[in-house]
Symmetry: C2
Subunit: 342 residues, 2 copies
């Protein structure tokens, strides 16, 4: 005859309370909540009423412990403030908000080691799925992902050898398309300006280089990069650097839209006409690009859609309907605007 410990939420109702009130076994309540089809309509109604009357909410911890799996999506992104990833994350949240799944978000700060550390924390919790940004995991991270025992979706890029599933687009092609657009528009001494040269930016740069070499326009002095975190201010500084090295510069492909905006402002400040003297192309096509003066050409990337699709794929895999296409290339779209309308 031990007195009840009455921990836990000052007497929040448990499944047993619901079962008692509904006059059924606890397991039937559990089933009614998780697999309603397996419970007769009568009992289902009774149980539903009891749940509502008591305000019963299942304890996710007890559930996870008993079933050896947590209804959690682990999500790893390199930055929470970079709008690009914020939109991916928003897509993920929006896709998951009405279901039973929670999101566990981790910020890797663009660091492979930090990613490893976070995976080491996430993986043992038996998440329902893992969504990670990029395809350049460290060997340790890759092993953790492979042995996580849940669907894994790598997002943002395409690549040859996914851990499991993949949703993204080709940054190389994006960089090439942007550069080809500048070339076609009549620009010749086209610079590449980039900050925070993460693997995706490197691939954009490679695409730029491929296009420039093909056109016989490549010159290493056209490239200006920095490992510093991207910012509008940095865009201004980098254009100044680029012009100092190469005063005849007549176009720039920017690593991303923040840099492009900085480049635009620097052009205004230096009274360089855009698009006549200098053409500008950004990357991602954030909302501000179309509103800039002049409107800035950019490569629109499907960030939100990547978030949604990654969840859709993971949910399908969880439901046992693993999509036959494990790699989805959502592509990108060149948005030509006045900043390159020579």
């Amino acid at each position: 005859m031990t007195k009840p410990r009455s921990r836990r939420g000052g007497g929040r109702p448990t499944i047993a309370d619901v079962a008692r009130k509904a006059g059924v076994g606890a397991i039937t309540v559990s089933r009614a909540l998780r697999e309603p089809d397996r419970v007769s309509q009568d009992l289902r109604r009774q149980i539903q009423a009891a749940v509502e009357e008591l305000g019963y909410v299942p304890d996710p911890n007890a559930r996870a412990l008993a079933s050896a799996r947590a209804d959690v999506f682990g999500v790893l992104v390199p930055s929470l403030t970079n709008n690009v990833f914020a939109e991916v994350v928003r897509g993920i949240y929006d896709s998951l908000s009405d279901g039973p799944f929670r999101v566990q978000l981790g910020n890797t700060h663009y660091s492979g080691l930090e990613e490893e550390r976070l995976l080491q924390v996430f993986a043992p919790q038996r998440p329902a799925a893992l969504i990670v940004a990029g395809i350049d995991q460290t060997p340790t991270s890759r092993k953790l992902l492979e042995s996580a025992g849940c669907p894994v979706v790598q997002v943002m890029e395409t690549g040859p050898d996914p851990v499991d599933m993949l949703v993204g687009f080709s940054h190389f092609d994006g960089g090439r398309t942007a550069t080809e657009h500048l070339i076609k528009s009549g620009y010749r001494r086209i610079g590449f300006i980039g900050a925070r040269m993460d693997p995706r930016s490197q691939r954009r740069l490679a695409g730029y280089r491929a296009a420039m070499e093909k056109a016989g326009l490549f010159d290493p002095r056209l490239i200006t990069t920095t490992p510093l975190l991207s910012s509008v201010t940095l865009g201004r500084e980098l254009l100044r650097d680029a012009l100092a090295k190469m005063p005849a510069l007549d176009g720039v492909f920017c690593n991303n839209d923040d840099i492009a905006l900085g480049v635009l402002f620097e052009c205004h400040s230096a009274a360089l006409d855009v698009p006549k003297t200098i053409g500008i192309v950004g990357f991602n096509d954030l909302e501000m690009m179309q509103a800039a003066f002049p409107p800035l050409t950019s490569i629109r990337t499907p960030r939100y859609e990547i978030g949604r699709r990654s969840v859709a794929m993971a949910l399908a895999a969880i439901a046992g309907r693993r999509p036959e296409q494990r790699v989805i290339d959502l592509g990108f779209e060149l948005k030509p605007r006045e900043s390159t309308a020579r």
Copy 2:
């Protein structure tokens, strides 16, 4: 003699495995991990060795179930993509990343009902603390917060009657300071332009109005707002609307920096000189403001710091050292720049 079920992570080591290997009781392992001071150095070392050898990681679900509290910070923000909240969230993550606490992030989409729904999900999980944006919770939400049984920190604003603790600044004062700055700079027909008029924007507007009335400059036709989500494009449109209503406008205080940027671009587009013909003030002082051409005056708000402080306060309360100051006003800073240098 039942055979072990061997669910759970394909035989991940449990606390019992560690205890066996270290030759101690399970509870001692538990203590060594949570309150090392209560275990002798000898055992602590043995246990540490066993933990490392086995690669033991405690199961947070079992822990939460047994101890009736989860090491989780629930965080509710109205938007994941709005840079302002992204920075608050980043501050929270950065403050929590090395401790034992996880973050559970919820997106309320600026909806009180959605906030209620999320609190109903979060509160029963017995989070270690709750951090919510704003002070305008619905009565239901407020009750949920009050009865959550954990420290609660409302962030982003100051206000008279916190649920528990509060970190923020006065949006009213911010709006007034911005407007007074315009008045002092010699502007007279100063408009207010605002999108997504959430409660914080409303208070900025009230501050604007107070300053204008005090100076005898107020005119309701100077105010142009919309409930639409804020964007740079919208900033351009709203300025056009404002000028249509009030062609003599010579200054604008914008609800936020995105709108201000749009206003700036619209001025460029319409060949309105900034700051001579029109002065512009934004709100939040995102990084781009100083890099704009001309650099844009704004009110710098301590977003990241709000995130850090909210966690610090919550951690103190968890540790039983509830700060004597339950309301912290971190203030803001006017950053006067060329866009108002008449």
